[in-house]
Symmetry: C2
Subunit: 137 residues, 2 copies
DNA sequence: GTGCAGGTTGAAGCGCACTTCAAGTCAAGG
DNA sequence: CCTTGACTTGAAGTGCGCTTCAACCTGCAC
């Protein structure tokens, strides 16, 4: 029994990659994965294509959108200028995301610990939004 | 000339709040803002309604979805049990978001500083995704 | 009156990442 | 042979937060 574990059905690969089969078909449709080999109409994946999927998933994990991942894949797995540029932009974006979430968290924690039971009487809270409404003068 | 600055047209309020007029109409449609007073068919906003909008925007700034904001508004501006519960859930969510972005950032920074020029030869990178594909055994 | 900026409506569209559905195919097991 | 389960397809739907569009109306300046 040669190559017993080599090729996977879509359901198997999806399960191992932690996605739904529909997602894999979707990736193929939008050109993120190359058209899979078929046996009797059904997709079956080689270890190489499984690895390609893993790369896609890892990029997703790193915060890239599918559109960006397409570019990354086109840039190859070698770290070239475009790869580096994309990564640096993404890091900046992640920093912004972190800062934004932190600001939001700080605001909420302030309110939870604030001595003012009514939000609208809390000076910090008022200051935070009054600024917006009076800026138009 | 009494109440000269009291009531704002939708464009003015939107500008001051930093949104588009279409967003305000949208908020009204989905019940986030009460139907505005009309003068000759046109909306005009009192300071009170402007304040309500500011609160909505501030909640958005704090990371709440519009659906959640509807609940918050229903809970009133006094910090009650439901308000506190929503805020605590959101803080947990923000923590998760921060951690996720940080993980992503760490990964990218590793790759940028990694001595392996080809991603697929970087052991950390491989480990990160190989784990996913072999977990199904 | 004429033009213009800015308002009104309902319906449809967008971007993202998929999911869901209906209708059909295929291989293996009893 | 027939069922079962996993697969196939294209098209449409989902959730979020709006935006855009077409067609129309309003108030003000000139």
């Amino acid at each position: 029994m040669p190559d017993n574990d080599a090729r996977l059905a879509i359901g198997e690969l999806a399960r191992r990659a932690g996605t739904a089969p529909s997602a894999l078909r979707y990736y193929e449709r939008i050109g993120l994965l190359p058209p899979a080999d078929r046996a009797g109409g059904k997709r079956h994946y080689s270890p190489a294509s499984a690895e390609r999927l893993a790369l896609v998933r890892l990029y997703q994990y790193a915060g890239f959108t599918l559109k960006e991942i397409r570019k990354l894949l086109a840039a190859g797995s070698r770290r070239g200028a475009s790869w580096t540029s994309l990564a640096e932009h993404k890091i900046a974006e992640l920093d912004a995301r972190i800062a934004e979430a932190q600001r939001a968290k700080d605001l909420l924690e302030h309110v939870l610990n604030c001595p003012h039971h009514d939000l609208l009487t809390c000076p910090n809270f008022r200051a935070a939004f009054q600024a917006r409404l009076e800026a138009g003068s």
